[in-house]
Point group: C2
Chain length 583, copies 2
């Protein structure tokens, strides 16, 4: 069995590039003449010139070997094509099952996803057993990939998604006598998938695979697209579920609802059905978030396949929390205040009744406006310091950083879209009433804050780390002192010691302010993450956008945008921590 | 006036980076210590060490100058933020005006677009008058940017869009007594914009701007986002217009229709109104295409701001059409056959009646299946030759090529999406009847063809040009001959001449087949471009997808996907020509 699989593996890989471990070496640009030589050789056949022919041929053989190593376009392209095809097919199926309840039902979509999940699991097992076990498979690890916040988030959301699947199984087992068995099979497969994928990504997120690179690339894009299809399906289901809300009588949504949850004639055989169903819908957002996290990690792994990372000597940056105090203090106060208002908001919303809802919204809006304005202000201070600060920009290319920036900006789109749609809706309807005015201010301030924060983080990540500059500076000073040493050596030495101690223990004002700003923003992002992640949905509690855009469209916007917004906040926390360290 | 504007210009630029012409030079990585030095200087204040201080300070001044040149993150980021904000606000406004006919009407959206158009025109004038006129403003030109097909396409679509605007003006002048004047103002402004932008892009598409880079970056993203907002607005209007089709009684669409074209009570004051209205809706797709072209060119210009292009010595590749014959011949036959069936199709469709429509569709489907299968076959042959061929991959980085590949793959998404949605719809409804079967085969073959063609083009663009390899090979041979010259010089010389002449005049079999494949694919892409660009819409003539996805959704998919598909075909033609030359 094992040998057969290995054989398959090798054939599969040979099909594309006939690549060996040697492709770690790079092709020499001086060997580009081979093909032309080969074309020419056919004319050199008279026996008297055998020696030349042989000379050339020898060169050809050598060059051929080098060339085959350089030939690595195939797998990259093929994996991209696979990814595109799965994604678009998934998109068509999901849209089909949402908009046409007759021909394509949720069952068809679930069968498609089950196939994808099984294939991905199979590949992950293959990878763990065959590729990773080999000595030279993973020569390098990308220390920036799969940072701890991403893996911890994956684990947390993975656990909650697992819970969701268990509730789903419990619910649909009750419908087994009158509904499709696929509805039970799907959460079972998904639960197994969650376990395997979380383990896989936890262990292998940092790998820079060097063996079977084509097969690995295809496998990783399969993982990526599977997660994105699961994400699309979850977003759609969540949106359809929300259209169930009683005070909105859209005729289409009820048809969809019936199609998704079995005909109303089909009654659940056990009593806990309703509770389970209620419960698993609360856990949907975590599953959406989990899929995004896993997709991001698979993408980073895909980018790292075949990459040769130089092992950067980690500048042992230490985290001195005592350097700063104002930022963290205000930040912690903000987090506590945010948590209190969040709990009050949730309690008021659950009590129902328009007056309570309005009161809850009032509190929530005001709190958010306070948080966002304080963040904007502190970010402006940070940006001004960047303008005054004369630290050099990092010039070397760093794919992980580019990816980080890309993910940051991309994820911020989610919140941007929600805010702009709110602005348009509120302005167009005239912003009557205090709640609308607050909602508008919140949206405008959020747009401002997002723009500023993106600027601040990206600028910060592109600055030369302070400790690097410090080392360089000390170097220069030492040189200066050597030159002037003959003049008055004793004083110099004292001065030198003074500089060394002062620069390492006391922060300059600029650095300190930057660190304060980072610490404050970090904590503020945490509270802005907690509120939507644990269920605050003012977008649905306040009705202006629903009336303006119709429910289906608004639900789609929020359900697509908000998970990205949550991802953005987590990502910001991690990036701000990095900016804190290098400031 | 001129000096004031120049002052504004300078201040604007200084605000971000205080950049001078010097930023053409790159910062030396050895000067990273400045900030740390500056921090240290504050401790060196005793008069006895003035000499050291001055030494260090001198270094600081030098380094500061270098640093300011390297500091170029601001404009890039700011322009990105501007682009995102305009795009998302535009998206919200367009969606709002499409889904909510009460609070936001087409007039609001048009006012927003007018503001954007005016700002963009203002910037273009500024650029032409102030930036471009300066000697050092454009030191380099990117020879790959703004290729002739893109500029010719821009001109063609620009002219047709201009015609559309004239028809629009003529129509809405008739409604002036009872409808908003904005509806006349909008096409007037757009017509002027078309003239200015087409001139601007025609002249400046290749510029690599070195002066006022931040201001230019922001201006270019403004141009980019304006074009994309115009594109979004046009796609939405086109989709709404199509919902007018009588046999589809969707209640929402009629309300939209009324909102867009003025209340039915408002009668046109001249008799040609109906004709003009009919005419300008036929020209909408060209305007959509124009916006995409302009956006692509603005994006390339934005990428090129501040870029230092090495002036690649253009290998004077000659186009020998006589080298190939089978490919072009079959291609031309295919184009002629395609044109004939396209005309027949259009005539039959215009005659209306179900039987005629079915006959037209039958002809169109069969013709397309023939074209696409032949293309797939020839692409497979081309791919096999790539596998056999041992030409080196180009290793140097080339931003224009990366962009080209990105645009190619991105544009192909449009056709991919349409095809997959068709596949899902037809398969789900059981593919009954010969028309459905043909439609399904066409969609599947198109997906296959797109994947193969993308692979073929990307592989081809990444191969070392043959003439480069030839030169290198001749070099090697010359060397070999020198070594063996003492043995029998006369024969050698003859041989050498033989090789030279044979290799330059007669193509090897592999190269010839590659060229044949390229030529055939090129012509086939032309006919696949002509058919949708000049009005073939089997997606709407055949009703299966409309019934399956509901009209609004299907119209949105086709109206977004098809213009990208058309762009893809044109782009493929250009890329295939390049592949032809380097094979």
């Amino acid at each position: 069995m094992k040998t057969v699989a290995q054989q398959m593996f090798r054939t599969c890989d040979k099909l594309f590039t006939r690549k060996t471990l040697n492709d770690v070496q790079e092709a020499h640009p001086s060997n580009i003449e081979t093909a032309a030589q080969m074309d020419n050789i056919q004319h050199l056949t008279s026996p008297s010139h055998l020696s030349i022919v042989e000379d050339v041929r020898e060169g050809v053989h050598h060059v051929e070997a080098v060339m085959e190593r350089a030939h690595h376009g195939g797998g990259w392209l093929l994996s991209g094509i696979i990814c595109i095809n799965i994604l678009i097919l998934g998109c068509a199926l999901v849209s089909g099952s949402a908009f046409n309840s007759v021909a394509i039902t949720a069952v068809h979509r679930q069968i498609f996803v089950i196939v994808l999940l099984l294939l991905t699991m199979l590949w992950m097992l293959f990878y763990t057993v065959f590729t990773f076990r080999k000595d030279q498979a993973v020569l390098f690890k990308d220390s920036h990939a799969g940072p701890v916040w991403l893996r911890a988030g994956l684990l947390l959301f993975g656990l909650l998604s697992f819970l969701m699947d268990i509730f789903k199984i419990a619910t649909y087992v009750g419908y087994l006598h009158c509904d499709s068995a696929v509805k039970v099979a799907f959460p079972v497969v998904q639960a197994v998938f969650l376990l395997i994928q979380t383990y896989f990504l936890w262990i292998h997120a940092k790998d820079c695979v060097q063996l079977h690179t084509n097969f690995t690339r295809c496998g990783l894009t399969l993982t990526l697209s599977t997660n994105l299809v699961v994400w699309m399906a979850a977003v759609t289901e969540e949106s359809i579920h929300q259209t169930e809300i009683p005070d909105l009588n859209v005729s289409v949504s009820h048809k969809m609802y019936r199609a998704s949850y079995g005909d109303k004639k089909c009654k659940c055989s056990h009593s806990a059905c309703g509770t389970f169903k209620e419960a698993f819908y609360y856990l949907y957002p975590f599953n959406i978030e989990y899929s995004l996290f896993a997709a991001a990690m698979a993408y980073v792994m895909w980018k790292n396949v075949g990459r040769l990372v130089e092992d950067h000597s980690h500048h042992n940056v230490k985290f001195h929390p005592k350097d700063v105090c104002l930022g963290p203090l205000t930040g912690i106060l903000l987090v506590v205040a945010g948590l209190v208002t969040f709990i009050v908001y949730e309690i008021y919303i659950l009590k129902e009744g328009e007056e309570k809802t309005n009161k809850a919204l009032l509190i929530h809006f005001i709190m958010n406006i306070v948080i966002v304005s304080m963040m904007s202000l502190s970010t402006i201070i940070g940006c001004i310091i960047y303008r005054l600060d004369h630290r050099e920009h990092v010039s070397e290319k760093n794919p992980t950083r580019s990816l980080d920036v890309g993910l940051l900006v991309g994820a911020s789109m989610g919140q941007f879209i929600i805010s702009y749609f709110t602005i348009v809706a509120v302005v167009a309807t005239g912003a009557r009433g205090y709640l609308n005015a607050l909602n508008l201010s919140w949206a405008i301030l959020t747009v401002l804050q997002l723009g500023l924060q993106n600027y601040f983080i990206i600028e910060g990540l592109h600055r030369e780390p302070f400790h690097v500059m410090q080392e360089a500076a000390l170097h220069t000073n030492a040189h200066a002192f050597q030159e002037h040493a003959e003049m008055n050596p004793v004083v110099e030495r004292n001065k030198s010691i003074y500089i060394l101690t002062s620069s390492s223990h006391k922060l300059s004002l600029k650095r300190r302010v930057l660190k304060e700003v980072c610490a404050f923003l970090l904590l503020a992002n945490i509270i802005l993450w907690i509120m939507p992640a644990f269920g605050a949905r003012p977008q649905f509690d306040h009705s202006i956008e629903i009336q303006f855009y119709k429910f289906t469209m608004w639900a789609a916007i929020v359900n697509i945008g908000l998970p990205f917004g949550i991802f953005y906040r987590m990502h910001s926390v991690a990036s701000l921590f990095e900016v804190y360290l290098i400031s």
